[in-house]
């Protein structure tokens, strides 16, 4: 019996319960007025069939393995278990491999083989038991509700309550995922900060994560000052915003205030195509077209431009985030009530005066929101900077030099074979946490700005 058959059976049972519940509701009504429509009665029976069954199924899925493993391990000879935690983990791994039927790389202890067989037998019995328990509970609880159906049963209220809980569960998924991500990054970061002081990480001016892996190896001792990396991120983001904000805002103003409807219908989607270009394509555009171009122009002007420059990455990233600024700004500019524009025109204001003094101030919260969204996108962008910005963590204010960013460093730290207990690898998590905090702060600021100015027109 495949393991998916049981939940399918449960679903089938629930649909039968629904039909029966509805039928019974109609039967007990017998001319009397039902409190809830028959549909709700059927739904209540079905839900009471489904939910207890599913709970038991989920309990089994989550806990069966650990319970079975513990049972089987108890039967193994004591000396096999007394070899320390690491050995025990290895043992459990072997056991699981055997149970799953994977070919083991080394000779198998017959005792272990025996334990695996035992595990398999126990699991089969357990599954059978669980299936009966589940279906039995489902039928029982459905029957309980089924026999309580009467014209006065407040089925609608119960069903709506259950649905509300379901909706709540769905909405917590996103929140819980965020919390999970933050926690996983946080724990690794805490391990990092045990080895490298927080102050050095936040204020150190030298980033050079290469460390000696063995005592006899010749390598730098490793220094983890995040300032140059962060400075690179901010410089590139600033260049990107310097490109995207004016261009995006102006095009939004053109699209919403000046463009004929015909132009608007094709120009807006066309601009949004920019957002659909894969970032890796932007990346090689930056590395192969823009960067050499800037270098050549710079050389002609007598400047010393490195072939991977912050300017190239920033410019291309700016192009990439134009649609964020323009699309969102266009939406909020369109949302400014026409009555405000009429009021301004009625006073003899020209179109540009109206836009500058009335429309833009009214749309400001939304525009700022769009810009900050673009900013967090720019800060978190990886592919373009990996390909076009360079790797050397240099603390410089010159956009013509190569710089590195937080995201680039995370990528280089985690690519390839890693040992997950060296500060070099853990530094990636600390950088990730830093990035997360920075974008979180940006979002908080964005929310504050939007709230502060929102209620000014209605």
């Amino acid at each position: 019996m495949s393991f998916l058959v049981v939940p399918c059976l449960l679903l089938l049972l629930a649909s039968v319960a629904f039909v029966q519940g509805k039928r019974r509701a109609l039967a007990v009504a017998a001319g009397e007025r039902l409190h809830s429509r028959p549909w709700y009665h059927g739904m209540l029976v079905a839900l009471w069939c489904l939910i207890p069954g599913l709970l038991i199924y989920l309990l089994w899925v989550f806990f069966a393995d650990s319970i079975l493993t513990r049972l089987v391990l108890q039967e193994l000879p004591r000396e096999m278990l007394a070899r320390g935690a690491a050995q025990k983990t290895l043992l459990v791994n072997d056991l699981h491999n055997l149970v799953a039927g994977h070919v083991a790389a080394r000779d198998i202890d017959p005792v272990l083989q025996q334990a695996a067989d035992h595990y398999r037998a126990l699991a089969a019995t357990g599954r059978m038991f669980m299936a009966f328990l589940m279906l039995g509970t489902a039928v029982l609880s459905a029957a309980l509700v089924y026999f309580r159906i009467s014209p006065d049963l407040r089925s609608r209220n119960h069903v709506e309550q259950i649905i509300r809980v379901g909706l709540l569960l769905c909405s917590t998924v996103a929140v819980l995922t965020t919390i999970g991500i933050v926690l996983s990054v946080l724990f690794e970061s805490i391990r990092f900060f045990r080895q490298v002081p927080l102050a050095e990480f936040l204020f150190g001016l030298k980033w050079s994560p290469q460390m000696a892996m063995r005592a006899d190896q010749v390598a730098s001792s490793g220094s983890f000052g995040a300032v140059p990396v962060l400075a690179g991120t901010f410089m590139i983001s600033a260049i990107a915003l310097a490109v995207a904000v004016p261009v995006g805002l102006m095009s939004a103003i053109y699209l919403s205030e000046y463009a004929a409807p015909g132009v608007r219908t094709w120009a807006k989607p066309a601009m949004e195509i920019l957002a659909g270009v894969p970032t890796v394509v932007y990346g090689f555009f930056a590395a192969l077209v823009v960067a050499p171009c800037i270098r050549d122009v710079g050389t002609m002007a007598g400047l010393d431009v490195s072939s991977e420059s912050a300017l190239a990455a920033g410019l291309v990233m700016g192009i990439m985030i134009i649609p964020f600024v323009s699309s969102l700004s266009d939406d909020v500019i369109n949302a400014v009530p026409q009555s405000l524009r009429d009021g301004s025109y009625g006073l003899g204001a020209t179109r540009s005066e109206t836009i500058i003094h009335v429309v833009l101030p009214a749309a400001l919260p939304g525009i700022v929101g769009g810009i900050l969204l673009a900013a967090s996108r720019a800060i978190g962008e990886t592919m373009i900077v990996v390909m076009a910005a360079g790797l050397s963590a240099r603390l410089t204010a010159n956009p013509l030099e190569a710089v590195t960013t937080v995201t680039v460093q995370i990528v280089t730290l985690l690519v390839g074979d890693q040992e997950f207990d060296s500060p070099k690898t853990l530094a990636a998590f600390a950088l990730g946490l830093l990035l997360f905090v920075v974008t979180l702060l940006l979002n908080v600021v964005a929310l504050y700005v939007v709230r502060r100015y929102r209620e000014e027109y209605e």
């Binding site: 004929a260 409807p261 009530p337 009555s339 405000l340 524009r341 009429d342 009021g343 301004s344 025109y345 009625g346 006073l347 003899g348 204001a349 020209t350 005066e353 003094h357 009335v358 101030p361 009214a362 209620e455 000014e456 027109y457 209605e458």
Partner: protein, 297 residues
């Protein structure tokens, strides 16, 4: 023939050619039949401030205003009444070319302000709208402070040389609009924080601040409660000393209270114009009578 039939009949009829004599029917002849589309009453005055002749307005294919000819005298309050969709607001918006902002709108005929054709090719709408101000149906204060709301027009037109002069204009406009007492100590608060009636008076003050000659009001009280309406009506009575006011209203009592002349519109045509008391006591046109006696509209 009852009113509903009259409406049907009119919308089906082709329109008669307009001659110069149209609308100049004088004296107490027999009451015109309901299907007569010529303007009755006294649409023309001597020494008018604004002169409209044969004005037609189209929204795309829709013929919204048909051959309207009317004069607007100096310092009078002209009320425009009529059922919904009769074109009175559209006609009002022609008087300061607000319809320019609607892409599909086309206007033909002549509208003169002090003898100058406002649809002439060399006319700039910016000074025109400064001379012919507008107050809208829904109060629409800008999302700025009360002070900046009033100062907006004077600033863009460069009416004030200095800050103190601008302060003077703001204070003066608010006083004329009867709002100074209520807001003088909170000029830096947002204009959107005022009550509906105060907002509408703020919009009137804003229009006054650019020193217009004519003020157009498009149902200025329809979003206000009766008390705020009374305040605005009192204000209109005071303003007519200095300004020419054209007001569109759905409220016939309001038209009777504030206006000197009343124009009745029906399905895009100007049916009857005359002194307000005469229109409401002794309408000459069947349609006007039907409307003011509440038989339709």
């Amino acid at each position: 023939m009852d009113a509903a039939q009259a409406v049907l009949k009119i919308s089906d009829m082709p329109f008669p050619a307009v001659d110069e004599q149209q609308g100049t029917v004088e004296g107490a002849g027999p009451a015109p039949r309901a299907d007569n589309r010529d303007t009755v009453g006294e649409p023309f005055v001597e020494d008018p401030r604004m002169t409209c002749r044969d004005v037609n307005v189209y929204y795309g294919e829709k013929h919204a205003i048909r051959d309207v000819s009317i004069d607007i005298a100096h310092n009078e309050v002209l009320a425009m009444i009529g059922p919904s969709g009769c074109g009175k607001s559209t006609f009002l918006r022609c008087l300061n070319r607000m319809n320019d902002t609607v892409d599909t709108c086309r206007v033909s005929g002549r509208i003169l302000l002090d003898g100058l054709d406002i649809y002439g090719r060399l006319v700039d709408v910016v000074p025109l709208r400064a001379r012919v101000g507008m107050v809208f149906q829904k109060p629409n204060p800008f999302p700025k402070s009360i002070y900046d709301n009033i100062a907006y027009g004077p600033r863009i037109h460069g009416l004030a040389e200095s800050r103190s002069e601008l302060d003077g204009i703001v204070e003066n406009s608010l006083k004329k609009a009867g709002l100074w007492q209520e807001v003088h100590d909170r000029l830096d608060q947002p204009g959107t924080g005022l009550s509906g009636g105060q907002q509408q008076r703020l919009c009137i003050a804003r229009a006054i601040a650019v020193q217009p000659e004519v003020i157009l009001m498009d149902e200025p009280c329809s979003a206000l409660d009766p008390i705020a309406t009374a305040t605005v009506e009192d204000l209109i009575a005071e303003l007519r000393e200095q300004y020419t006011i054209v007001i569109v209203t759905h409220n016939m009592q309001q038209a009777a209270r504030v206006s000197r002349r009343t124009a009745y519109f029906h399905l895009g045509a100007l049916i009857e114009v005359g002194p307000t008391d005469r229109i409401f006591t002794n309408p000459r046109h069947r349609l006007t009578e039907d409307y003011i006696t509440g038989r339709f509209g």
